[in-house]
């Protein structure tokens, strides 16, 4: 199909890309169209279709109550109180984007397609930290109509309140194809929370989410992704971050609800001197969930450092893989991986797979600790001796295990996520 016609008919969001770049990206994607992902179950993409059009809204408060409830349960506040800005995408439809007035001029939020058209620098960043031919999911994303959020925090701006985005699936067997770009310009800082969820009546679906983060010198991004799917959803996020000199990228991932399958392995490339990345992962595997979640830190800058912390629980018949890779390519870099798991019951399975790699960086220091085990009976009994009933003691220890405080979130987000942990725990006991 000629590029021009395809753009016009199918992929209006990519109209900003010049045709030679588009052809090259398409060529790479085409070659990977059937390429299975390195991990987890293979999904037949033909079982899913693009959803219908959904109208924009002028206010998140005007959304149906049931939708607002699932948004709230994913850390996205429809009242927008205490938020620096919001972006909401339903299926492939961008229905809302807004910057809180007091942050006007400090950051911008828009559909990534608009950003590609408007900004040459965004076009230059498209598919640069995630590869379009990584697997069939990235290929699918490139070859189909795509939307997503573009967030840019301007140089030197500190955005104290979180920016929120909600990616919502609203039709059965729908595939949601998202590609996000986030840029933290020099010396800026922000918290971004991305809540991914479904309308309550929707039972099946596939979410493909590409996210590319660019943390410029001295900037700091705390990105928190909360997934709140259902037992018949497949989820394939593909994320990458590029961190420049003195920049910090903190990525928090929270999954506390059942899912059919989820596979993610975000990578942070610490390119600048003194750059830093932290991955915190909290996973509660329930029912028949097949979860394969990792994080990778590539230390390429001198004095770069990283930390990957994973806390996972496997319960019911769930299967949880907790992966982590630290790769040092530069001397004087250091990173630590801390991976702990609890398995409840005889039918759940957990695999902790930490990997340390050093390539031409003999002075770098990489370390890891990994442990899987039951809840310590000694700890439970100790708390019981303080007057706490067994159930509550188990609950207290589990909640402490899924410690939200490690994420370094603003108060409102921290208490929202802590509440999610409590709800999941109450329901699962």
């Amino acid at each position: 199909m000629p590029v021009e016609r395809e753009l016009e008919d199918v992929r209006r969001s990519l109209r900003g890309l010049d045709s030679s770049l588009l052809r090259e990206l398409d060529r790479r994607a085409e070659a990977a169209r059937e390429k299975k992902a390195a991990y987890s179950l293979d999904i037949d993409l033909r079982a899913f279709h693009e959803g219908e059009a959904v109208a924009r809204t002028d206010s998140l408060e005007a959304l149906p109550d049931e939708v607002k409830a699932v948004m709230l349960a994913s850390g996205v506040d429809p009242s927008e109180s205490g938020r620096a800005g919001s972006y909401v995408q339903v299926g492939k439809n961008v229905i809302y984007e807004r910057v809180n007035q007091i942050y006007s001029g400090k950051l911008e939020i828009m559909d990534v397609g608009d950003a590609l058209e408007k900004y040459p620098d965004v076009r230059d960043l498209w598919w640069t930290v995630v590869a379009p031919d990584q697997d069939k999911y990235t290929a699918f994303s490139q070859l189909h109509d795509v939307h997503g959020y573009f967030v840019r925090v301007f140089e030197g701006q500190e955005v104290e309140l979180p920016v929120q985005s909600c990616l919502l699936l609203h039709e059965n067997a729908e595939v949601q194809n998202v590609h996000n770009i986030v840029i933290l310009e020099k010396g800026s800082s922000a918290h971004l929370i991305s809540g991914c969820t479904t309308s309550p009546r929707v039972k099946t679906g596939l979410h493909i989410g590409i996210s590319e983060f660019f943390v410029r010198p001295g900037a700091k991004l705390t990105f928190t992704m909360v997934h709140n799917w259902g037992p018949e959803f497949h989820v394939r996020p593909r994320s990458g971050a590029l961190v420049e000199e003195g920049g910090t990228f903190i990525s928090n991932y929270v999954l506390l609800k059942p899912v059919k399958s989820l596979q993610t392995y975000p990578v942070a490339y610490l390119r600048g001197r003194g750059s830093r990345a932290v991955f915190n992962t909290l996973i509660y595997g329930l029912e028949n969930s097949h979860i394969d979640a990792g994080s990778k830190i590539v230390l390429e800058g001198e004095d770069s450092s990283g930390e990957a912390v994973s806390r996972a629980i496997a319960q019911d018949k769930s299967v949880v893989y907790a992966r982590g890779t630290l790769l040092a390519r530069q001397n004087r870099s250091r990173a630590h991986l801390d991976c702990r798991g609890i398995v409840f019951g005889d039918e759940a399975q957990m695999f902790a797979i930490p990997e340390l790699e050093s390539e031409g960086a003999p002075q770098s220091l990489l370390s890891h600790e990994a442990a899987i085990g039951p809840i310590s009976e000694e700890e439970v009994e100790y708390l019981m001796a303080r007057g706490i009933p067994r159930d509550e003691a188990v609950s207290l220890i589990t909640r402490g295990f899924l410690d939200v405080r490690i994420m370094g979130l603003p108060q409102a987000l921290e208490s929202a996520i802590r509440k999610m942990v409590e709800i999941t725990q109450r329901e699962s006991m």
Partner: protein, 247 residues
């Protein structure tokens, strides 16, 4: 306050207590002496109702009620509290959270406790309140953390398992003071309501805490009773050999 009757207790399939009888009256403090492996810790754990210490025979009564079948949390709510010799660390749970929970258990039966912060300050634990429970605590800090939790709970029967072990002299004094507070030793004798059962290996704690009666536990049985200081002196001079022959 506490009556232990013909108690036989098994741990991991091995019989440790082989028929112990003991009575601690209201306001009394007793000490338990004895060689390692004699069953001192097992007796305390069994009185607390810890599940791994299985009662085979006999009974435990607290304030006249048979509590042998009760779980540790139920016993704690009735007013029994224990200082563990080697308390586990509980990651992700703050010392403050436990103290608050324990204090709320207490409030049902007692007047409100002094502020947690006040108690923590006295025990040099202010900076530990927001740390993970017992995680990375030194030997002395562990003992103070245990005392802190007990002071917040204010139990009527206090079980202390080697409160002085692994603690330097300054800390022993501090812990001794806290034990006296816990047992109401500073009040008038008639008003003392809390009772204590203290396991001591070294006997150092007797310099700070005035105990009423001592028992020597050897090979799962009480070998003799008497004045705690006399007993301790005897043991220091002659070891437990002579106690063996008393049985």
């Amino acid at each position: 306050m506490l009556v232990v009757e013909g108690l036989q207790v098994e741990v991991g399939g091995k019989l440790i207590l082989k028929g112990v009888d003991l009575e601690v009256g209201t306001g009394e403090t007793h000490v338990l002496l004895g060689p390692n492996g004699g069953g001192k810790t097992t007796l305390l754990m069994a009185v607390m109702g810890m599940p791994r210490y299985r009662v085979i025979k006999g009974a435990v009564y607290f304030k006249g009620k048979d509590i042998t079948a009760l779980t540790p949390d139920a016993r704690a709510r009735l007013g029994i509290g224990m200082m563990f010799q080697k308390p586990p660390a509980v990651r992700g749970v703050k010392l403050r959270e436990i103290a608050q929970t324990v204090a709320s258990v207490r409030e049902a039966a007692h007047p409100p406790a002094p502020s947690l912060e006040g108690i923590a300050e006295r025990l040099n634990l202010s900076e530990h309140l927001d740390r993970e429970l017992n995680y990375g605590f030194s030997g002395g800090e562990l003992k103070r953390s245990e005392m802190f939790q007990l002071l917040c709970q204010a139990p009527e029967l206090v079980l202390l398992d080697e409160p002085e072990s692994g603690v330097d002299l300054d800390n022993v004094a501090l812990i001794g003071e806290a034990i006296n507070d816990l047992l109401g030793k500073r009040g008038k004798i008639k008003e003392r309501k809390a009772s204590g059962l203290i396991v001591t290996h070294t006997g150092h704690i007797l310099r700070y805490v005035n105990a009423d009666r001592g028992h020597i536990l050897i090979d799962g049985k009480i070998a003799c009773h008497g004045n705690p200081r006399d007993l301790f002196e005897e043991v220091q001079k002659h070891g437990y050999g002579r106690c063996e022959s008393c049985r």
